[in-house]
């Protein structure tokens, strides 16, 4: 019920509606619950309404952290188990 997905705004329809895209699918959603958005912004959509903006900088920061953790663990693994060849 609380499921919501991040989508990208592709066009503004009117004051309270925008067109969004996710995975090649386009649809219209309401932006009545959030402040003005611009084309290219990401929002999180639940039941036809954007419930909040997606903070892209924060998302990128999280992803970079996960990549860093993965790289760190890989290095540690290689240090402990060096390849013999």
């Amino acid at each position: 019920m609380c499921l919501a997905v991040p989508v990208r705004v592709t066009a503004l329809v009117d004051e309270q509606r925008v067109e969004v895209e996710i995975g090649g699918i386009h649809t219209r959603i309401s932006t009545a619950l959030i402040d003005a958005v611009a084309v290219g912004d990401y929002v999180i959509v639940h039941a036809g309404f954007a419930i909040t903006r997606l903070d892209v900088a924060a998302a990128e920061e999280s992803l970079a952290l996960f990549e860093e953790i993965a790289a760190h663990m890989r290095r540690q693994h290689h240090a402990l188990h060096p390849r013999l060849s």
Binding site: M1, C2, L3, A4, V5, P6, I22, G23, S30, A32, L33, I34, D35, Y42, I44, H46, A47, G48, F49, I51, T52, L54, D55, V56, A58, A59, E61, S62, L63, F66, E67, I69, A70, H72, M73, R74, Q76
Partner: protein, 377 residues
Amino acid sequence: MRYIRGFRDGASAAALAGLLAEAVDPRRDYHLMEFCGGHTHAIFRYGVEDLLPPNIRLVHGPGCPVCVLAVPRLDAAIELAAQPGVTLVSYGDMLRVPASRRRNLMKARAGGADVRMVYSVLEALRIATDNPLRQVVFFAIGFETTTPASAFLILEAARLGLTNLSVYCNHVVTPAAIMSILDSPSVREWGQVRVDGFIGPSHVSAVIGSRPYEYFAEEYQRPVVIAGFEPLDVMQATLMLVRQLNEGRASVENQFTRGVTREGNQKAQALVAEVLELRPSFEWRGLGELPYSGLRIKRDYAAFDAERRFQMPIRPVAENAACLCPAIIRGVSKPTDCKLFATACSPREPVGSCMVSAEGACAAYYKYRGGALRVAS
């Protein structure tokens, strides 16, 4: 899709599992409740539990709106739908939820009632404007994620002067439910459920912010980490909880920084506050009557309140005694403890609400833990 798939990366999950294995204190264990059914399903779907050290136990919480709706309130909706001239509009999640005497909205529709399934309240608005001679009632359920849309619907109905649209309000609030778990006898006295910390809701918190959790993190000395619904989110939040518990801290932390702020969505909060108010008490399935845990429509918008417009008697019912849903919702029992699980009760023929909902714990166990195999054997 980057902001979905990126949070499902296998190598990062393995690395986080490594960090968790290093972080846990082998002399103790960690009982963490994921409040949301959305988290329960992410945990099962991606096998997160198998990546966690064995001394981390996940307790499934009541954050499934369909599961916690009291049966008498669903009965009232089914009876309303059967009235001539009424069109009942509902989110799809509700249609197959068993009411008393094994009725449900789907069967009511098969019996001639006008029950329609929608994805958004905007469709309910369209149904009402397209059918001026029918009384259209929107069956509103859900936590804070869903509530602002219902408030919007009422405000739109008022703005358009619609006289044939009303809302049957069953919205509930999250912090009250978490507090009731911590206050419940099974936690406080019986010791059946141990909850050391909470994996907090992501989308509920996108609306209400992280601030409402601060009071009980402090008061009950339980850490809360708000987490996104993807597997890496859940694992990182678990790591954050383990670190807090190791350090003896109990604060509110936010893992879901991409969608949650401390203040939340104030515009949505203002819409809700304009139209809805707390009920002094509201019945939850499995948790009983909880003070200030549900919302009703304010007197100013009484014209749009289905409970005022129609006779909707709420009659107590005896639940199927064999169904463990109430105990599962409280986190006292696991789905596999239930005699009906994967025998008399399956997603195809659900007895209890926890088996119906895409957020119910029983549905998650059945779908991802081989419920089907048990049926076959």
